[in-house]
């Protein structure tokens, strides 16, 4: 059963239950379903959407976005959610790749592109199209990640993938229809959008907050709607802690669960959460857009394994393979690979032959290096891919390097991850540059980068060196710079 069919079932069984909450209104499941049907009708009529057509969604936690997202699926379309802060170059690449029938939402950094407001999907219609069950094998979403070259890479997820992921997550977290979740995560990413599907497929309520930035509002909404759970990345917890100290502990009695996204989280941070929320299921996942939440670990019941990435999620298998594609025994280090219905069905615009290379014997290659212990816990050692994880957002060093290399006076450069000295973002971008131009200041470099890169991709530190270490074949040896 697709996520949309589960929402339909919730609307039939519990029409008056609250699905969505904003400061302005509360939307029941019956209303949610009606509005999604209206959205499906409107995207067909207004934009001529046909089965398999794409719509780019500059996704924000706006209530109309939710109707548009499910409505596009119900009309047989494919959603390509992107960050509203996406830069012009990246947007053009995504647009050329997906050839959308339209772009919806607001793009802050792209000039001259016409976008449709999400509210258009609620334009009244004389006749609403009847619901048609989507094919489970049909692509539902294309999520663009940052590929190793920095160019956007479209991860295609079909309806079956989305349904499987929501089931696995809800099974582990033990979500119920009584849950009221505060959504502060960005919905342009796999994690936030996944939370929307998890809560609404289960029949729970979603409070749309939009961001963690305003902590006063976060706690006000938590109290006002008696929220029972929320999702966050480790950088959010560092922020919550810095901005509000131990205040989250005042909600220990009502918080049933927290889901935490996969990036490095210091053990003392995990311990502090355990202390402040002794009865809350604190579930940290390990996963990637291609294989959302492949493993889970609960801080209290698996307290001895806080230093691991957890065990395979329900209905998921995890194995370690060597570079030849052979399964490795317990304790042996290799590439972490996962299998399950949640794993991406394809990369957008990539051949099946190329896609097949991302698998070993049906197991998706995550690009992470680690081992399994005797209990089945995953111990991550390093990333095979060299992404920099800035507060949960992935930055390709090559994307930053390509732009640095266009700045007059820079002869060569390389970017690596550096730990955030404030301990908030996890990692930050550090740039090494080779330049003989003594007048080229760090500030001038940043100013040159700023119009072309999102703020989180800007180097936090720039260091000048004589030469970038490279292999004989000219490949940058980033590990030597760390």
């Amino acid at each position: 059963m697709t996520i949309e069919e589960q929402i339909c079932q919730n609307a039939i069984r519990h029409p008056a239950s609250i699905a969505l909450i904003t400061p302005e209104e509360q939307v029941t499941y019956a209303q949610l379903w009606e509005r999604c049907l209206l959205a499906a009708t409107n995207v067909r009529r207004k934009y001529g959407l046909q089965k398999g057509d794409r719509i780019i969604l500059a996704a924000s936690a706006n209530i109309d976005f939710i109707y548009a997202y499910f409505g596009i699926h119900m009309a047989g379309g494919v959603c390509a959610p992107i960050d509203p802060d996406t830069n012009e170059t990246r947007f053009e690449l995504i647009k050329n790749s997906t050839k959308p029938v339209c772009t919806m939402g607001v793009l802050h950094k792209v000039a001259g592109t016409q976008t449709a407001p999400f509210s258009e999907v609620l334009t009244p219609c004389d006749k609403i199209d009847p619901y048609q069950t989507p094919d489970p094998e049909q692509i539902a979403d294309i999520l663009f990640t940052t590929g190793t070259t920095g160019a956007p890479k479209g991860v295609a997820l079909n309806h079956k993938n989305l349904t499987a992921a929501a089931l696995n997550i809800n099974t582990f977290i033990k979500n119920t229809a009584e849950d009221v979740e505060l959504l502060a995560l960005p919905v342009s990413h796999s994690f936030g959008l996944g939370r929307v599907r998890c809560v609404l497929s289960k029949g729970g309520s979603l409070v749309l907050l939009g961001s963690f930035a305003n902590m006063k509002k976060f706690f006000e909404q938590m109290e006002r709607f008696h929220c029972t759970g929320f999702g966050m990345v480790p950088a959010s917890w560092a922020y919550i802690k810095k901005m509000s100290g131990r205040k989250i502990g005042e909600f220990a009695g009502q918080l049933r669960y927290i889901e935490i996204g996969s990036s490095f989280m210091p053990i003392p941070d995990k311990e502090l959460l355990c202390e402040l929320l002794p009865d809350t299921r604190i579930c940290m996942h390990y996963g990637l857009t291609e294989a959302s939440r492949s493993a889970f670990m609960e801080f209290h019941s698996e307290h001895d394994y806080l230093n691991t990435a957890g065990k395979a999620s329900p209905n998921v298998e995890v194995k370690i393979f060597d570079t030849e594609g052979n399964v490795l025994p317990t304790g042996a280090e290799g590439e972490v690979c996962v299998k399950g219905e949640h794993v991406t069905c394809s990369y957008w615009n990539e051949t099946p032959e190329r896609f097949a290379k991302d698998f070993y014997d049906g197991y998706f290659r995550t690009g992470d290096c680690g081992y399994l212990d005797a209990e089945g816990y995953i111990h991550l050692k390093s990333r095979i891919k060299e992404m920099i994880n800035v507060g949960g957002k992935k930055v390709s060093p090559m994307e930053v390097e390509d732009i640095l290399n266009t700045i007059p006076g820079i002869e060569d450069c390389a970017c690596v991850a550096m730990p955030d000295p404030e301990g908030v973002m996890g990692e930050l971008v550090k740039a090494f540059i080779v330049s003989k131009d003594g007048s080229l200041t760090d500030a001038a470099i940043i100013e040159a980068l700023r119009p072309k890169l999102e703020a989180y991709k800007l180097p936090a530190r720039i260091e000048r060196i004589d030469a970038i270490p490279k292999t004989a074949s000219g490949k940058v040896q980033r590990l030597k710079l760390k």
């Binding site: 509203p84 930035a213 810095k242 901005m243 509000s244 100290g245 205040k247 404030e422 703020a455």
Partner: protein
């Protein structure tokens, strides 16, 4: 330069907007860059500029430019 003027300048630089766009009632979320990272950036630059340090409970109460100015003035009083 008075406190308000300095705070507006910090917000404008951090959020990459013109100073004329920032008012006393400008708040978190008003500019795309005033997200949680931007908010932290603004507060740490304010701490540096006025040589003060906010406690978590003080930071939690800060939602807009006026709150920042009041918090700074309270610290300096």
């Amino acid at each position: 330069m008075d406190t308000l003027e300095k705070v507006i300048e910090i917000v404008a630089i951090t959020c990459d907007v013109d100073k004329s766009e920032v008012t006393e009632s400008s708040t978190v979320g008003d500019f795309p860059a005033w997200d949680s990272v931007g908010h932290l950036g603004i507060l740490s630059k304010v701490e540096e500029a006025f040589d003060i340090s906010f406690e978590p409970e003080e930071m939690m109460e800060i939602e807009d430019v006026k709150d920042i100015v009041d918090a700074v003035n309270n610290k300096l009083a």
